[in-house]
């Protein structure tokens, strides 16, 4: 850990492939245990697909922001666009969002472990032991997370596929009927909820995408990971519906866990629900690490500290403590996640990025104009940089 400041100060670089894996694992996140589709019921797959379509629009905005300022993170962009004072205020709100999001994931993890397996252990033990590993990862830098997931992501996907295949004997396709019994409205409400949790939470990656290796496309990262994570989430949600049916799924706190409990192949392969816990541990770890990274980096930026790594442990421990005090109990936590969180997330996920995007477009256009009149080299270089990926993706 004392590798010397010189190494730490170097710019971190992650490859496109690693970035795709990180974003995909991040999106899958706590959705592996927390069921989605409380209102859409058997049409949850439709709600997820609609949410994916909505999200692909906002992902364009996220991608465009990074594309306009290659190599810069969101805090530097905010400073540049809004000036020192207002930029810092926006930075503070953004880092607080990442902070609370991370705390929420830690809380999900704590509640899950406490309800499912260790009811007598105090919550802080889970939260703190979980956060220690996350802090460790963040201190190692984002590259470490990329390399870690490169190893564990295939395992992660393999486990989800294995559980799904093993559930096939329990599938009852009648559970998906009737289609749109209560009309399209509940589906749309749910797809909005799914949009805010988990898809658009990807907004915290605005802080990371500056580290993307040169020559890789941000859009590719966002859309490829959306496709991977979206498919996985549809599989997880639909599997719970097919196995449990709507009446059972609706009353369960952790539907995918419960549906895994029913898997029984003869007498030798049963009680494999621990695999769901392992899956959640990997994805929850990745999600918390990204949130902690974003929050730490923001704090470092706020106080002009060059080596953010040293702040990781203090921010991390605060995150764990906040996770314990943020909700009184699980019932409140789940109620809050379902009812209040979507509205809480709108400013960070939609409003701020769109404002940033519009102002960024205006400012870069203006400076480009100025540049082309003054120094031609720089101006053309810049426009080439921004124009290229667009034509690729359209």
């Amino acid at each position: 850990m004392n590798n010397g400041g010189s190494v730490l100060l170097e710019k971190e670089v992650i490859s496109q492939k690693q970035a795709i894996i990180i974003v995909a694992t991040f999106i899958i996140g706590s959705s592996t245990i927390l069921g989605s589709g409380a209102k859409a019921k058997q049409d949850v797959w439709l709600a997820i697909i609609i949410a994916m379509l909505m999200v692909s629009l906002i992902f364009f905005v996220y991608g465009r922001i990074t594309k306009l300022f290659p190599g810069k993170n969101i805090y530097e962009i905010l400073d540049f666009l809004f000036g020192k004072v207002f930029g810092k205020i926006l930075s503070l709100t953004f880092l607080l969002y990442a902070f609370s999001l991370g705390a929420l994931v830690v809380r999900d993890f704590t509640e899950f472990a406490r309800i499912v397996s260790l009811p007598e252990t105090p919550a802080c033990i889970f939260a703190l032991s979980f956060i220690v590993i996350v802090i460790w990862a963040v201190r190692g830098g984002i590259e470490l997370l990329g390399r870690f997931l490169a190893i564990f992501f295939p395992l992660f996907i393999l486990m989800i596929v294995a559980i799904t295949v093993l559930s096939i004997p329990l599938f009852n396709f009648d559970n998906l009927k009737p289609f749109l019994y209560d009309g399209i409205k509940p589906v749309l409400i749910d797809s909005f909820n799914i949009f805010t949790f988990p898809y658009a939470e990807v907004v915290v990656f605005l802080c990371l995408m500056g580290s993307l290796r040169k020559g890789s496309s941000v859009y590719k990262v966002y859309y490829a990971s959306l496709l991977i994570a979206g498919t996985t989430l549809i599989i997880i949600a639909v599997r719970s519906v097919l196995v449990l049916g709507i009446p059972n799924k609706m009353i369960q706190n952790f539907a995918s866990f419960t549906s895994t409990r029913l898997i029984r192949l003869g007498t030798f392969l049963q009680r494999i629900e621990a695999s769901i816990a392992i899956i959640f541990m990997i994805s929850g770890f990745a999600k918390t690490a990204v949130c902690l990274y974003t929050a730490t980096k923001g704090l470092a930026h706020l106080f002009n500290i060059k080596v953010y790594h040293r702040l990781a442990s203090s921010v991390g421990i605060l995150m764990a403590l906040y996770s314990i005090i943020m909700h009184e109990n699980t019932a409140k936590m789940i109620e809050w996640t379902k009812k209040i969180y979507p509205y809480y997330a709108i400013p960070y996920q939609i409003i701020i990025p769109i404002i940033v995007w519009i102002i960024a477009e205006i400012k870069t256009r203006m400076s480009n104009k100025n540049n082309t009149t003054k120094v031609e080299d720089e101006g053309t270089g810049d426009t080439a940089n921004t124009a290229l990926p667009e034509s690729n993706n359209s």
Binding site: I115, V116, S117, L118, P119, E120, T121, P122, I125, S129, V132, D174, K177, P178, F179, Y181, L244, G245, I246, P247, N248, M250, I251, T258, R261, L262, R264
Partner: protein, 382 residues
Amino acid sequence: MKKLYVLINVFILMLLATACWNYREVEQLTIVAGFAIDKTFDGKYLLTFEIVDLHEAKGEGKVKSVLVESEGETLMNAIRNSIGKNFPKLYFGHTTVIIICQEVAQEGVLKVIDFMVRDAEPRLNLNLFVSMDTKAGDILKTKVLTSEIVSEELTNILDEQKNLAKALPIPVHKFIHALVEEGISGIMNSVCIEVNNEEKIAKLCGTAVFKEDKFQGFIDEEETYALSFILDEVKGGIIVVDVGSGPEEEKISLEILKSSTKIEPVYEDNKLSIKVSIDTKVVIAENGSKKNYTDKEGREELIKLAEEQLKKKIESIIEKIQKEFGADIFGFGNKFYKELPKVWKEKRNEWNEIFKDLEVTIETNIKIEHTSLLSEPIKMGD
């Protein structure tokens, strides 16, 4: 300095690597194989737990079961009250059977279900039973013929029903499904005590019919057999065909290889009706008559008789349920909800009335796959 740093790290890791907080050894657990719920005279719950005794099993001896009784105002209370009698806390992770007495079932089983599903230990695939004409606890006191544990025996019997089709496997999650889902009522297996070879043994004896969460009544094994055809749960079993004409009793057994049922809801002229079509593949397993049923004419006659008799059985159970209980255990309403959601939306409030006079047409289709080893009946010479 570096050594000290490593040493500190090692100590921290040692503390973290001690694993679980509330650590329990296997021998400190009391594994509950199944339990029975009764009511005492003063309105308390009386729970009888069948516990797998691991202390006896340490040697080579067989695993034995021990019964522990406990009372309480609520179920959870009764479970915890057992601590007064038996030291290790009860563990429900391996519970496979819950037997409910008629009285509790009549009051409503929602509280039992809620408790079992809410707790993290029991699984959703444990089986529910209603005891018939006896206290639920007495079922657990019966003698077991082949294994040592009554609960295990009941589960095994239920698993083996695929060769009989006279009881349906109803795990908790299926019952909840029927409880919550639109247009379907729940059922449970019923269990009673029978005397076999001068010993009391537990026996499955049909199905308990529920409306919402309240027990309505029993149907017997033969009726359950007909019911399992409608619910498409037949995986094996025997169709007995009465071919006797005249005073002599002549019966033929057809063994079911495969059976599938399709239920089609029909909405015509503002009237609801249900079409049930059953396709069954059988083999001739026993010919109790002297007639030849392997040639073309014989086969056709046999199929005709079998189809008619099966149809009659099924029709009579539907009528019985409609008239006596009025509980839609077949899930006909659910079929409307799934297949004709618009019609269901209009009619769902009147469904209870509609169901009682619902017109159900049944079509049975039996195919003889082969006649086993014999191609001709055994003919007696003089």
